[in-house]
């Protein structure tokens, strides 16, 4: 399988990948995981010649250059070792690296046979003697991916400063959307703590479950009746992983430093609306937002607080 799981941050994409791999029964030595980033290269992925200092019999040292295998090559070797066992190459944050450059000639291997005795193998081979060198199942330097070689990727739809994946690359994967809906559907929900929201200038607090708060936020962010910023900016249930057994103060810190920062930088500042705002009109900077929340003052706009009420009544 070649699947990319995509969705808003915190929707549990990596968790789904883990569950999928666990369900396959693959042992740890058959699971390979890497994370793309802007500096990630083909050499990191496939391998590279690196200098190695060796001591000779006479005691002097010499420098040899040895091929150090990247995660792709190691996973491919493992897959060919026994094609009855599944091997998983998990690539996190695929859009944070330049996939076209990182995959290089490997891209050609992503097309798989859909029928015949070679079903599941790459449709086309590439010549790459360095990768093929230690795979005895490959008689020469022609390499293909075997059917037990799985690539599972994750992509955050809301990331800024990411690389664009070209259509040819994208179409070689199945794409699976991971929605922002809370799991398990119907509750009791996971990661669902109580959060106090100050609803007026007198400091009146209302206790709201995290699932209700982020659910309201998602509608407020995406819906054209409100900020209309699109689904890309929404949050997942695990955007904040609340500390199990944590104190209200610890949870408040998590909200302050993770959620508010995102809402200010990526939502509030991205909004072109002059009529509708997520935050109270008295808040004009992040430091004010930070202080106001810290001191239990009202931070959200009346419109958003109204939305929370509507959400709780099921009429948003």
């Amino acid at each position: 399988m070649q699947i990319i799981f995509y969705g808003a941050p915190g929707t549990g994409k990596s968790y789904i990948v883990d569950e999928l791999v666990k369900a396959s029964g693959a042992s740890d030595d058959r699971i390979f995981r890497t994370t793309f980033h802007p500096e990630y290269t083909y050499n990191d992925f496939v391998g590279q010649l690196l200098p190695k200092v060796q001591r000779t019999a006479s005691g002097s040292t010499i420098i040899n250059y040895e091929f150090t295998k990247g995660v792709f090559t190691r996973a491919l070797e493992k897959a060919y070792e026994d094609t009855s066992k599944q091997v998983f190459l998990i690539i996190e944050e695929m859009s944070r690296g330049d996939c076209a450059s990182i995959f290089g000639d490997i891209f050609q291997l992503l097309d798989r046979e859909s029928q015949g005795i070679n079903k599941g193998y790459s449709k086309y081979f590439i010549n790459n003697d360095i990768i093929a060198k230690d795979i005895i199942a490959l008689t020469d330097d022609k390499i293909k991916l075997p059917p037990n070689f799985n690539i599972l990727g994750t992509v955050n739809t809301s990331d800024q400063n990411v690389f664009v994946m070209d259509t040819a690359f994208k179409r070689r994967f199945e794409w699976q959307y991971v929605s922002t809906k809370p799991v398990p559907a119907g509750g009791p929900y996971k990661n669902n703590i109580d959060i106090e929201v100050v609803i007026d200038s007198a400091g009146t607090k209302k206790t709201v479950k995290w699932v209700d708060l982020y659910g309201t936020l998602n509608i407020f962010i995406a819906d054209s009746r409100f900020l209309g910023l699109g689904e890309d900016k929404q949050l997942g249930q695990f955007f904040i992983e609340f500390k199990v057994g944590g104190t209200p103060s610890e949870h408040k810190n998590q909200v302050k430093n993770k959620l508010l920062h995102y809402l200010w930088s990526d939502i509030h500042k991205s909004s072109y609306s002059t009529e509708i705002s997520l935050f109270d009109s008295s808040i004009t900077s992040f430091s004010e937002l930070y202080d106001a929340y810290e001191n239990d003052r009202k931070i959200f706009s009346d419109k958003f607080i109204e939305c929370i009420e509507l959400w709780l009544r099921g009429s948003l």
Partner: protein, 281 residues
């Protein structure tokens, strides 16, 4: 990557028996082999020359039950099966040998290789997503000095093994591709590129007792007579399966259905494994 060749204890025993036979020893000397150790070294060096990726640096001998367990063979343990071990201790490929002194053409290759492969498949059939029958590369070394390897039927077995992607090495350097009907004199390129060409290998007076290729309906029909009428159906099944498996591969590639109705009444655990395999195609 370097490998250690792990051999069953019986490999050395059989070489010692062969070495004690003057006729066999005389044949060994013709290929520059004097002692049992020489023969082991010859096997390793020939394999390294022919298959450089193996890079066998050493060998060791293990009990056949240990080998059976390590390679995941659910059937009976085999005295003919070994494996290639990586520097991390993993199995990277399977090793089989055709022993010296074996003077039955019927048993050459099939009896050494197929029981183990069927035993392995029994254990992996549920998980195997690869449609090939073997989950690891297969290497077969022929150290049998008799002239059985020159018989047409035995040569066809070697061809079948090659068509399945198995790597075959004859330590005595004997040719076997010459039985391919399409092979021109002096043409050493081994080529059977279609089911029809493969069919010709087994056709005698227009009749193939193993399978029928129905090109019109795109059906490969497996015939059971050679197995069911045999005095030893188990042994016959190994021979039969080695010969029809390449036909199955080619048929699947050409979009054929595989018809095994003729085997409906054959109730053996071994054929159940084959039935399971075909059902996945």
């Amino acid at each position: 990557m370097n490998h250690i060749l792990v051999l069953p204890e019986e490999f050395e025993i059989k070489l010692n028996e062969a070495h004690a036979n003057n006729d066999v020893h005389a044949k060994w000397l013709q290929i520059g082999v004097d002692t049992v150790q020489d023969m082991i070294n010859k096997v390793i060096s020939e394999m390294n020359n022919r298959f450089p990726k193996l890079s066998i640096t050493n060998y060791r001998v293990e009990n056949k039950d240990y080998i059976k367990e390590t390679i995941g063979n659910r059937g009976s343990s085999s005295i003919y099966a070994g494996y290639f071990e990586t520097d991390k201790g993993n199995v990277d490929g399977l090793f089989f040998y055709i022993p010296p002194l074996l003077d039955s053409g019927n048993d050459i290759l099939t009896r050494q290789v197929m029981p183990t492969l069927l035993g392995i498949y029994e254990g992996i059939s549920q998980d195997m997503v690869d449609l090939h029958f073997n989950n690891r590369p297969v290497y077969i070394v022929n150290i049998n000095e008799t002239n059985r390897s020159e018989q047409r039927a035995v040569k066809i077995s070697f061809i079948c093994a090659e068509l399945l992607g198995f790597k075959y090495l004859d330590i005595f350097g004997r040719e076997f591709h010459d039985v391919i009907p399409s092979l021109n004199e002096g043409d050493r390129d081994f080529k059977i590129s279609s089911l029809a060409e493969f069919n010709l290998l087994f056709t005698n007076n227009g009749n193939n007792e193993l399978f029928v290729v129905n090109e019109e309906e795109k059906v490969l029909q497996l015939l059971s007579n050679t197995v069911t009428t045999s005095k030893n159906p188990s042994a016959e099944m190994y021979r039969y399966f080695l010969k029809v498996l390449p036909a199955i591969y080619m048929a699947i590639d050409a979009g054929y259905q595989i018809n095994i109705d003729a085997f409906d009444n054959l109730k053996t655990s071994m054929f159940d494994v084959i039935r399971m395999y075909i059902s996945k195609l």
